[in-house]
């Protein structure tokens, strides 16, 4: 059964070069700790807390715990059934890839790997998104 669960995360806004360095350093981290690059100067790092994240190259970086995100994990068959009909834009073919856009008219972030899709959505939208997905 599909469900939305809150996910521990840290949101980072920093100078793009500093963020590049930080994300490069994450390559040695466990694979569960994923950095979603939302913008050149912004990343959402999943399954970490603020003690895991430091941006030494940018003293003005904003590093904040993020408790307002929910995660919906889907297999590819579940994605094809419940999500793809609700997406009006072209799904990028690369894997892994982060795609950001509207799903059923709700802003969402899709982290797509060969193993499946994780949808990250602001928790205030999560129930409605799930309701619309499960109507399929």
């Amino acid at each position: 059964m599909l469900a939305a669960s809150t996910v521990p995360a840290v949101r980072v806004v920093a100078h793009p070069d500093a963020l590049d360095s930080f994300i490069s350093s994450m390559k040695a981290w466990p694979i569960t700790k994923t950095a979603l690059r939302l913008a050149p100067d912004e990343a959402l790092v999943l399954h970490v807390d603020t003690t895991d994240v430091s941006i030494p190259d940018d003293p003005h970086a904003i590093v904040e715990p993020e408790h307002g995100c929910s995660l919906i994990a889907l297999s590819w068959p579940e994605f094809e059934r419940h999500v793809r009909p609700l997406v009006e834009w072209a799904i990028p073919p690369d894997r892994p890839v982060l795609a950001q856009g509207m799903v059923a008219f709700i802003p969402a972030k899709l982290w797509m790997t060969t193993g499946g899709v994780r949808i990250v959505v602001a928790t205030p939208f999560a129930d409605t998104l799930l309701e619309r997905m499960l109507a399929r």
Partner: protein
């Protein structure tokens, strides 16, 4: 004559409450016609889906073209009721229609001769056209600019994006317009052929017109022009007129109209851009019929020639205007039947060629489920406290993109809890943002019209947000956390645009700042009332921040960012907290405040509380072009700053006369409705923006607008009229003018 192929063993559907046999492959209309009855309530039948004369109710859904609906066992069909609109309440099971989305290089609509030739040409050119034809179960109902097509199938809607659309929809036939043309028994040539092919006896059939489409049909061709069709319940005779003006009456059972072709161009008339190409007969001009002189021109809307005369006499002289004024062409067929006749009418009257009018999607009737397939309402967000509000019996409503408590059953009791005891409210919906960076002070100085640099760390300031024209579009607080770190708040409705606004200007000015939107990352609870401080102290906050101060603290063991400000007019602290801790904090506040008389308050009470203080709600009290001067907020503007957004516009307009002023009003209860007109000397001078019957003051308080009809060079009037009652122009705040209660 062929024997009736329908026998006792034939499959059946239900028509008008009785079994109706059919031959597999029949449309519903053909099956009904075979029984000697009519599928609709009269009018020339085309049986090609062009007209709206076979519309019926099929399986509970009205406005279904029975000629395009395959007969099947179990189907239930009825004619539309006569003289009244059919019920639009279709079966609930059709609400959830799936949508398939496709993208193609090129799409061909219509697989007649022209469409097949085009298909072969495109394939030879190495392209792969997507082929769509109603006979294949894919009925194109809408074409939009930019290459977007909506297709209806039996089990889904298909939304197609294409680089190129080729419309090869062919031709329809002209329908007769004269007295009696809506009698059952009138057929186009094509319809007559289909009926004959289905073994249906046309009886004594006559052909009027000489276009040639009826050649070969077993019917008597009449010379001359059609004058009228006679009959009581169906066609009994036709009257034709020869070249010498002599009329001849001929008895008949069926009139076959062989009047010539009309382009099947409904889809083509929906778009006007380069993504659509019309080919074949659909693109070829057709001769217009003679100007109609009597009868129903538009069967869908019931528009008569007399109606067109009336519209013309009122000065509507173009086809598009005639359409809007007479409603001809606005029905389910979007002019397929009536457009040639309307054009003929306008051409004859004006002596000028009359171009076709545009068509609106959809070209076919759609259920609401089909039309809305794949389309969603805006999603209304829920705060972390949503379930808690509902558990407490809150009446929830939508505001600023969120579900929020309107009241918890008694907004007056909630009001008094704020004024006399303590109350909590969910303000999680407020916009929240962090700004840092070496240029953060300079950046905020440019964004806001107030001074920013002199806000001390640990302090906050109320701010307006102006656009380049000096118009107010939001307000909020600047909260300083460090030399270069700030927390900004915005209204719930304004938060959506705030991040974009800030980021755009940071980029434009090339300033080195970091911006993080936290609106949906934090919950917030406002603790307000004369006993609010006592409550917070009980929960471990020994020294609540003073007015316009803020601090990161712990309340009931829960980490919060406490900001002291006031929207209600009472001492208030906003506690910004992790969303997953919000319910625990809420319950701790409610439990600890029980003996203090705590109650939660909703927006209904809050709107009244803030109105008593004269606090403006941007977007409710203000308009798109409200300036600080118009709402008497010049105190929030520092024109001597080097620069801020909107400064130049405010400087330019400062000396101009301006009749638009927000005023405060009081009057006897009850409060007038919001939006009520304001009158002065029997002139409409403005309207009430927001109003509230104050329980404490015992009368109505309002904010309203003076907009015109008063002498702005003189003093503001002292008395105006609202709802036929005198209202006194007052000053804000209406309550606690010294502001001591918020600061104590």
């Amino acid at each position: 004559m062929a024997a009736n192929p329908v026998g006792p063993a034939s499959p059946r559907f239900i028509f008008e409450g009785a079994p109706q046999g059919f031959v597999p492959g029949d449309s519903v209309a053909i099956a009904i016609l075979r029984s000697g009855r009519e599928p609709g309530n009269g009018g020339a039948l085309c049986l090609t889906g062009d007209c709206g004369n076979c519309l019926g109710v099929v399986d509970g859904t009205a406005f279904v073209r029975t000629c395009q609906t395959s007969a099947r066992p179990g189907l239930v069909a009825d004619r539309h009721p006569v003289g009244v609109a059919p019920s639009m309440m279709g079966p609930a099971t059709v609400i959830d229609i799936p949508v398939r989305r496709e993208r193609h290089d090129v799409v061909i609509v219509g697989l007649g001769e022209a469409g097949l030739v085009e298909r072969d040409r495109l394939v030879a050119a190495g392209r792969t056209p997507r082929l769509l034809d109603a006979s294949g179960g894919e009925d194109v109902v809408s074409v939009y600019d930019d290459g977007f097509i909506v297709v209806r199938t039996d089990n889904a809607m298909v939304h197609i994006e294409a680089n190129e659309i080729v419309l090869a929809t062919g031709r329809a036939e002209l329908f007769p317009v004269c007295a009696g043309s809506t009698l059952p028994g009138v057929r186009t040539s094509g319809a007559a052929r289909r009926m004959v092919a289905a073994g249906i006896d046309l009886g004594r059939a006559v052909i009027v017109g000489s276009a040639g489409a009826a050649n070969g049909l077993a019917a008597t061709r009449l010379g001359g022009s059609l004058v009228r069709i006679e009959g009581s319940a169906r066609v009994e005779a036709v009257v034709v007129r020869d070249a010498f003006g002599n009329d001849t009456r001929v008895d008949c059972d069926t009139l076959i109209a062989d009047l010539g072709p009309a382009p099947r161009d409904v889809l083509a008339r929906m778009v006007d851009d380069g993504s659509v190409r019309v080919i074949g007969p659909a693109a070829e001009p057709c001769a217009l019929p003679v100007c109609p002189t009597s009868g129903i021109v538009c069967p869908c809307s019931g528009t008569t020639v007399e109606d067109l005369d009336g519209v013309w006499s009122r000065g509507f002289r173009e086809v598009e205007l005639m359409k809007r004024a007479s409603l001809a062409g606005t029905g389910t067929c979007q002019g397929a039947a009536c457009l040639p006749h309307l054009r003929a009418f306008v051409s004859a009257k004006s002596g000028e060629p009359a171009l076709p009018f545009t068509a609106r999607p959809a070209a076919r009737q759609l259920t609401m489920g089909e039309a809305g397939a794949g389309v969603f309402f805006d999603a209304w967000r829920t705060t972390a406290l949503d379930a808690e509000h509902r558990r407490l019996g809150a009446n929830m409503d939508r505001f600023g993109g969120w579900w929020r408590p309107w009241n918890y059953g008694d907004h007056v009791a909630e009001y008094w809890a704020v004024r006399e005891a303590v109350s909590i409210g969910d303000v999680s919906t407020l916009g929240k943002m962090i700004v840092t960076g070496p240029d953060s002070v300079e950046f905020l100085e440019r964004i806001y019209p107030t001074n920013v640099a002199d806000i001390k760390v640990g302090r906050s300031r109320y701010v307006l947000l102006l656009n380049e024209r000096g118009h107010l579009f939001d307000d909020g607080m600047i909260v300083r956390e460090g030399d270069t770190r700030f927390v900004l708040t915005f209204t719930s409705g304004g938060a959506g645009n705030a991040e974009m606004w800030m980021r755009d200007w940071a980029e434009t000015w090339g300033l080195d700042v970091r911006i993080m939107d936290r609106t949906m990352s934090l919950a917030a609870i406002n603790v307000t009332g004369p006993r609010a401080a006592e409550l917070l102290i009980r929960l471990g906050l020994e020294e609540p921040p003073k007015f316009l101060q803020h601090r990161h603290v712990t309340v009931a063991g829960i980490a919060c960012h406490a900001m002291r400000l006031s929207f209600t007019g009472e001492a208030s602290w906003e506690l910004h907290v992790r969303p997953d801790h919000a319910v625990a904090l809420w319950r701790a506040l409610m439990d600890a405040g029980r003996d203090l008389g705590i109650k939660p308050h909703g927006l209904q009470a809050l709107f009244g509380l803030r109105l008593e203080k004269g606090h403006v709600i941007v977007g409710m009290d203000t308009e798109m072009d409200t300036t600080p001067r118009r709402i008497d907020h010049d105190w929030a503007i520092k024109m001597n700053k080097p620069f801020f957004l909107g400064q130049e516009a405010l400087a330019r307009t400062a000396s101009l006369p301006d009749q638009r002023r927000m005023i405060a009003l009081t009057m006897e209860s009850p409060a007038p409705v919001e939006g009520a007109p304001i009158w002065l000397d029997h002139q409409l001078v403005g309207h009430v923006a927001t109003s509230f019957t104050s329980p404490l003051l015992g009368h109505a308080v309002m904010l309203g607008w003076l907009k015109r009809g008063w002498d702005a060079s003189g003093p503001i009037p002292t008395t105006v009229w609202v709802d036929g009652r005198a209202a006194t122009v007052s000053e804000t705040p209406f309550y606690d003018k010294e502001g001591g209660r918020a600061r104590r």
